[in-house]
């Protein structure tokens, strides 16, 4: 039997702050064990948490990126549980009064996924298992790394919706400078709640939670596996257990994690060491004003206002800095398609070849705008425009000077043209003959020969005009 899958997500995102959320240790990935630890984040007796303003600011930005309300009042709570990666034996999180509530994202297919809340919390440490000795080793470097948890409503009905949502979250958070969204490094971690119900039903089934999904592809495969698994159970008249399952990439399956004997009772209560945070409307607005335009809005602009093909728009949007570069260039010179072509062609090639970032190239958006302007005005040909970009990259300089000194400026002088073209026609008398006999395709060939003979400063438009007249 076929069932309707119902899914909800909990997404943990590490925030791009300089320091940890409740202490002044550096917030970084990697490094030697316990080298970014202080008495505070290792939970030493007598220490107290100190909330990082930057973490609150980025959490608010995550809210704006996902159409949430950023609340004037938010407060912290303790979630109590014992685990060796949690040195205080409680996680500071937000339970009753999260910083952001009631957001949404529209996903592919047009459905709207509601976001219940976004709250701030601290990450736990890492355990490295030593199988030989049968022990684990606790490294607290990650303790206190600031996280937000984005919690959706169970609004997803297909794998595609889930995957699109995760891609959009990653992209929006990157644009907002909130999170680098590297799933493989764990800076964005997705848990999926999934249950099945008969099509047409309104009553959700029992859900299982899948953890350890470290790519968009894994999410798709894990859900597919889980739909299959739960369907088989239901088909046999069985009951799905409410449990946490771990996805194993190598086996492409999910397995129940060892269930705790007692049901979880986290004994949440207000964190007495951290006063609740008051956000004035002015402060909230100031952060809102720092928000860059989100990628989905840019996509609409690129495709609808600028007329770029969907694929090109997506390529430009893949990296915020690339998209920012494009936006700056078209602001100077609104040659949307030309600039898009230059950036997705020559500039992307240079980036790939050198492994450099767009911000590290010695070419500015103004340079690209100028090259595009010359091409649009007919001062240089489109082919020359590409060459000028490469020269700019290799040798530096100013686009117009390069165009001039390297002879890219197209001449509008027809005086010499007649003689050169006559010579081309004479040399290719055979082709001319055939063209005149009705083989229209040969015009391109003759045109090519003419351009070659005229040199790079020649104006292809003029050549074509002259040629057409002479071939009548």
């Amino acid at each position: 039997m076929n069932y309707q899958p119902v899914m909800g997500l909990e997404i943990h995102c590490e925030l791009l702050t300089s320091s940890k959320v409740f202490c002044t240790c550096r917030n970084e990935f990697g490094g030697g064990a316990n080298t970014r630890v202080c008495p505070r984040c290792s939970g030493m007796p007598g220490t107290l948490p100190l909330l990082n303003k930057g973490a609150v600011r980025l959490a608010a930005k995550a809210g704006f990126a996902t159409n949430c309300t950023v609340n004037n009042y938010s407060a912290f709570d303790r979630k109590n549980y014992f685990y060796p990666d949690l040195p205080k034996a409680y996680q500071i999180t937000q339970f009753d009064s999260p910083i952001c509530t009631d957001g949404y994202i529209d996903v592919t297919g047009g459905r709207r996924i509601r976001i219940n809340r976004i709250h701030i919390e601290e990450d736990a440490g890492k355990l490295v298992h030593d199988d030989y000795e049968g022990v684990s080793m606790a490294d607290y470097n990650r303790c206190g790394v600031p996280l937000i948890e984005i919690v959706t409503e169970p609004d997803f009905r297909s794998i595609e919706e889930v995957q699109d949502f995760v891609v959009q979250i990653g992209s929006r958070l990157k644009y907002a400078g909130v999170c680098d969204a590297r799933m493989e490094q764990g800076s964005l971690r997705v848990d999926v709640n999934i249950s099945l119900m008969p099509y047409g039903s309104n009553e959700f089934g029992t859900r299982a939670e899948i953890k350890n999904l470290n790519s968009v592809k894994s999410i798709g495969r894990a859900i597919a596996y889980e739909i299959q698994r739960q369907s088989e159970i239901l088909d046999k008249g069985g009951k799905v257990l409410q449990e946490t399952r771990r996805y194993n990439e190598n086996h492409d399956d999910t397995k129940a994690m060892r269930s705790k004997e007692e049901a979880h009772d986290y004994r949440y209560f207000p964190e007495p060491d951290i006063p609740p945070v008051l956000f004035t409307d002015e402060e909230i607005d100031a952060i809102r004003r720092e928000m860059p335009e989100m990628p989905h809005r840019r996509f609409e602009r690129y495709t609808e206002s600028y007329g770029l093909p969907d694929e090109d728009a997506k390529l430009i949007l893949a990296q915020k800095e690339f998209s920012d570069f494009y936006d700056e260039a078209v602001k100077i010179m609104p040659e949307y398609k030309l600039i898009s072509n230059l950036m997705l062609g020559e500039i992307s090639r240079l980036i790939n070849e050198t492994g450099r970032d767009i911000t590290e190239l010695n070419i500015s958006p103004a340079d690209v705008a100028e090259v595009a302007k010359m091409a649009a005005d007919g001062a240089v040909s489109k082919g020359s425009a590409k060459e000028i970009i490469t020269i700019l990259f290799n040798e530096g300089g100013k686009p117009e000077e390069i165009a001039r000194s390297k002879g890219f400026i197209m001449s509008n002088d027809t005086s010499g043209l007649d003689a050169v073209i006559d010579e081309v026609l004479a040399t290719n008398a055979d082709a001319v003959e055939k063209y005149k006999a009705g083989n229209d395709k040969l015009f391109g060939f003759i045109m090519g020969q003419a351009i070659k003979a005229c040199g790079k400063g020649a104006n292809p438009g003029l050549i074509k005009k002259t040629l057409s007249q002479k071939l009548k």
Binding site: S19, A33, L51, N52, S136, V277, L278, T280
Partner: protein, 92 residues
């Protein structure tokens, strides 16, 4: 009202362990103590539970990092360490 099973459940939440004898003693103590605590149960539910005074966002700690502690200082009170880490029994 307080039976040894409930004491045992609380002990598990508290990560405490008692012998049978201790469990009975603790059950008796808890029965007496909770009887005293029951005083609060009929309190006026209209009153708002106390919370700390809030602070303004602007007064929070600025996001700058400082050098961490040398890990020898962090590890020195631990009874069992290896590879600059705290050794714990294997967790599955």
């Amino acid at each position: 009202m307080f039976d040894p099973n409930r004491t045992a459940h609380l002990a598990e939440l508290s990560k405490l362990e008692f012998t049978d004898e201790e469990l009975l003693k603790m059950t008796k103590d808890m029965t007496d103590i909770i009887a005293l605590m029951d005083k609060v149960c009929d309190f006026n539910p209209e009153i708002k539970p106390y919370t700390l005074d809030s602070v303004d966002y602007d007064d929070l700690r600025g996001d700058t990092y400082k050098e961490s502690y040398p890990n020898s200082e962090i590890l020195k009170n631990a009874k069992n360490t290896k590879n600059d880490s705290f050794v714990v029994p294997k967790v599955v």
